[in-house]
C-alpha cells in the first residue's frame, strides 16, 4: 500500500529529472540525499532572507535619518564596544545554528550503508564507462559498456539534446548502491542533480559515494569538471527501475558476455 501514501499517486505529475530551459529551481529529488540538500538550501534561505531584510532596513534607515538635510552636523562617534560585541556575536551565533544541519547532512552523505551492489564509473575523454562486476567469477566476466552521447542528428522525437546517451546506467530502486568513481585520463566529474550526486573522477583514485533511489525514473546529468574539447558532450543517464527488472537486465547482459 506504499503507493497510496504517496500523494503523487492521486495526481498525474511529471517529475522533473532533467534540466529545463530557464530553470531557476532544483530538479525533483529522487534520493534522500538530494532531498536533504534541497531542504538544507531552503532552511538556509530562511536565515538569508531574515539577514537580508534586516541589513536593507538598517541601510535605508541610515540613509533616511542621516540625510544632510535632516542631519547637518555629522556624528563623531567612532567606537561602541557594546554594539561591536553584538554585531560580532549575533552573526557567529547564526552561523553556528546553520552549521548544525549542514554538518549533519555532510556526514550523512559520506555514510556508506551496507551496499547491495557496486557500480564502477570510469571517466574517459569523452565518454563514461560503466562496470558491474558483482556477478563475475573471472576477471573478464564483468558487465562493461561505454556510454556515448547521441549526436544531434541522430536524436529521435522527444529525446533531449546533448543529454541522451546510447547506453544508460540501469540501477534498482529502494536498494543501497555503492558507486566507485575514477578516471582513466584526466579529471572528470560524475554528477546527477536529481540524485544529489556530484563526485570528481580522478585518475589513480577510487572515489566512493552511495546512492539510494526513492523512485523509478530517467535521471540526467553531465560531466562537471572541465576535461577537454568534448567536456560538454559526455552526459550521464541513470535509469531507475524496479529490482526485478534490474535483475532481468543483469541476466540478459550476462548472457551477452
Amino acid at each position: 500500500m506504499f503507493f497510496l501514501s504517496n500523494p503523487l499517486f492521486f495526481f498525474s505529475v511529471a517529475l522533473c529529472d532533467a534540466p529545463q530551459a530557464w530553470q531557476f529551481g532544483f530538479q525533483d529529488p529522487a534520493s534522500p540525499i538530494a532531498q536533504g540538500i534541497q531542504d538544507l538550501h531552503n532552511d538556509i534561505c530562511f536565515f538569508m532572507i531574515v539577514v537580508l531584510v534586516f541589513v536593507v532596513w538598517m541601510l535605508l534607515r541610515t540613509l533616511w535619518h542621516f540625510h544632510w538635510t535632516k542631519n547637518p552636523v555629522p556624528s563623531k562617534i567612532i567606537h561602541g564596544t557594546f554594539l561591536e560585541i553584538v554585531w560580532t556575536i549575533t552573526p557567529s551565533f547564526i552561523l553556528m545554528i546553520i552549521a548544525v544541519p549542514s554538518f549533519a547532512l555532510l556526514y550523512s552523505m559520506d555514510e556508506i550503508v551496507d551496499p547491495s551492489l557496486t557500480l564502477k564509473v570510469i571517466g574517459h575523454q569523452w565518454y563514461w564507462t560503466y562496470e558491474y562486476s558483482d556477478y563475475s567469477l573471472s576477471d573478464d566476466g564483468s558487465i562493461v559498456f561505454d556510454s556515448y552521447m547521441i549526436p544531434e542528428d541522430d536524436l529521435e522525437l522527444g529525446q533531449l539534446r546533448l543529454l541522451e546517451v546510447d547506453n544508460r546506467v540501469v540501477l534498482p530502486v529502494h536498494t543501497h548502491i555503492r558507486i566507485i568513481i575514477t578516471a582513466a585520463d584526466v579529471l572528470h566529474s560524475w554528477a546527477v542533480p536529481a540524485l544529489g550526486v556530484k563526485c570528481d573522477a580522478v585518475p589513480g583514485r577510487l572515489n566512493q559515494t552511495s546512492v539510494f533511489l526513492k523512485r523509478e525514473g530517467v535521471f540526467y546529468g553531465q560531466c562537471s569538471e572541465i576535461c577537454g574539447a568534448n567536456h560538454g558532450f559526455m552526459p550521464i543517464v541513470v535509469e531507475g527501475v524496479q529490482l526485478d527488472d534490474y535483475l532481468h537486465w543483469v541476466s540478459n547482459k550476462l548472457e551477452d558476455i
Binding site: 551496499p115 556477478y135 567469477l137 576477471d139 573478464d140 562493461v144 577510487l206 572515489n207 526485478d244 541476466s251
Partner: protein, 99 residues
C-alpha cells in the same frame, strides 16, 4: 472446473516456475563495507582485496574454493583496467606485492 482443465492450468504455469530460478541466479551481493577503509578513496581497499585473494590462492592453491568470495570482493570494487595491469605485472614477474 474439471480435472483436465486444472491440469492444463498447471502446465501453462510451468515455464514461469522455470524462469524464476534463472533470475534468482543473479545474487544481489557486493563487497561489504570494511572498517579498515572508511575513507572516500577506496584505492587501497581495492589493492588490499586483490592481495588478499592472491594470498589465499598462494596458501590454498590455485582455484581454491574458499578464495572465490575474496575474488568477487576485489572484482566488485577494482576497475578492470587496474586488474588487467596488475595481472600483467604478476605474469611478467614485476609485481611489487608479496603474492
Amino acid at each position: 472446473m474439471s480435472d483436465a482443465d486444472a491440469r492444463e492450468v498447471v502446465i501453462e504455469e510451468e515455464p514461469v516456475v522455470e524462469a524464476a530460478p534463472e533470475a534468482a541466479a543473479v545474487e544481489l551481493k557486493t563487497t561489504p563495507f570494511d572498517a579498515r577503509f572508511p575513507q572516500t578513496n577506496q584505492a587501497k581497499h581495492c589493492y588490499t582485496r586483490y592481495n588478499e585473494f592472491h594470498k589465499c590462492q598462494a596458501e590454498n592453491g590455485e582455484g581454491a574454493e574458499e578464495c572465490e568470495p575474496l575474488g568477487k570482493f576485489y572484482r566488485a570494487i577494482c576497475p578492470q583496467e587496474w586488474v588487467e595491469k596488475w595481472n600483467e605485472q604478476r605474469e611478467e614477474g614485476t609485481w611489487a606485492g608479496r603474492y
